[in-house]
Amino acid sequence: MEGFIIALFVCLVLALISKYLSIPAIPVYILGGIILGKAGLGIVHSDEVSHFFSEMGLLFLLFFMGLELKLERIIANSSKVLTAGLIGLTVDMGIGFTAALLLGFSPMEAFIVGAAFYITSTAIVITSLIENRKLMFKETETIIWVTVFEDIVLIIILAFLSVSDQNLLLFFAKIALGFAFMYGLSFYGKEFLVSILDRDDELPILFTFAAVLVTASVSLYLSIPETLMVIALGAALATTDPDAFEQHARPFKDVFLVIFFVFFGVTIDLSGGLNWSIIAIICALAILSKLISGILIGVVIHHSALSGLEIWANMISRGEFSIALAVLYGSPLIATTIAALVIVTSIIGSFTAKYSTWLRRSIVHYSRKKALLHRSN
């Protein structure tokens, strides 16, 4: 328990530092965890308490993602979402999976590494778009739709990875039943739900917390993936009053997710045969593959490679979803690889996002100068 309190206090200091330096907080939390935990000073160990809070962090992250997932809006913009999204999926997932396979991971491990390699951090990307005042850029809308597409892919990956050796028909029947129940409740109980959310006592926040926890435990009881069901719960409740749910779930998400990141760092084990060159290659490829997919998306959607460069500069960071995959399905080796991937890409990504305008301007300047020289010769 003391370790947990120390970790919380360190989080608070780290949060202050990251805000002060305006760098994304996620890599800082993981680094803090690594320093405090197994691989570092060994002061903090994960125990039942930290495990419970970390799990809450994951559940609320996914619940939040579900709340943002407004299906009718995705369908209305499906052509935009699909074109850009599919380019990203084939290029990034393809490169990530192939590289991991070639570097000696088993096909199943390579799939998880590839997925973590592919999925950008929605949290970091959106915060940096707002902070760097890029919301009006034409590329911004494309970037946002790509992150939405990635969320959908993540759901499919989670479903795929959680199919265990149970009867498939029964498994999907149970999931379908769960979906139907949650959507039915949101549809027929909409007025009741809204009346609860409108109250100004503790009820709305208690209801939000309980809904997530009950969904998770019922899923465990029915042996269906709680991750999927919590996302579905978010998506179903988003049909009632998503803003109210976001407001009530945000404090839980914010606190538990920080614990989730720190204790992910704490459990990282750097002893044992780690091959740093493999990890370095994966990190370098992670940045390169987003450059390829970014430029392709820029050329196809905006008919401009420079737009592609802007998309790349803003989409380098991997974060919460990659870690979620590592925690849920990764071996210690995969967890270390993904931790390095997240730390390297999110820190480099925050710089490219900040200086992309400068980068674009100097490229335009350079090519003009070259054209002029060419003409005068």
Partner: protein, 164 residues
């Protein structure tokens, strides 16, 4: 109004975007972000990089007041406060620059309360504030008066007392 088309769009995770193009071809975009701040972008016709300003909700409302013409001069502004606990009581506080016609006259003499129902609660003179000026208070040139009342009373005050 004819050519202006306002486009509103909900960006998942970011917030709501409002965008329109002016007759002259400039673009203005406003984003209400989920973090609670408001970002305003303007893009001049023919330019590629917009310029941006980030505002708090209070600052954005102030800008809104300026744009709707509620604040005619920078020194004159108005806020309306609604007290929901007091049967939705709405009070307006408005600041006025004292015109020449009022110079040298007292609050009593002008019959402000009797004629308009509004009350002068403060006067700013040479960067110093006089709170609750007495009925015998004499206005001078350069004074700015802060007046409180219902919006009709404030309008009456503006029509009947602040005449040039």
């Amino acid at each position: 109004m004819s050519a202006m088309s306002l486009r509103s769009l909900n960006l998942p995770g970011v917030g709501t975007k409002y965008e329109f193009e002016t007759d002259k071809g400039d673009t203005v975009a406003i984003f209400f972000t989920k973090t609670g701040t408001i970002q305003m972008y303007t893009l001049q016709k023919g330019c590629t990089t917009p310029s941006a300003a980030e505002m708090t909700p209070v600052e954005a409302r102030r800008l809104g007041n300026i744009l709707t013409g509620a604040i005619i001069e920078a020194d004159q502004e108005s806020v309306e406060i609604a007290f929901s606990a007091l049967a939705d009581l709405r009070v307006t506080i408005h600041s006025f620059l004292i015109p020449k016609t009022v110079r040298g006259r007292t609050i009593e003499d002008l019959q402000i309360r009797a004629k308009t129902g509004a009350t002068v609660i403060a006067v700013c003179r040479h960067d110093r504030n006089i709170i609750n000026p007495p009925p015998s208070f004499v206005f001078e040139t350069g004074d700015a008066a802060l007046v409180i009342g219902e919006s009709d009373q404030i309008k009456k005050f503006e029509r009947e007392i602040m005449v040039d």
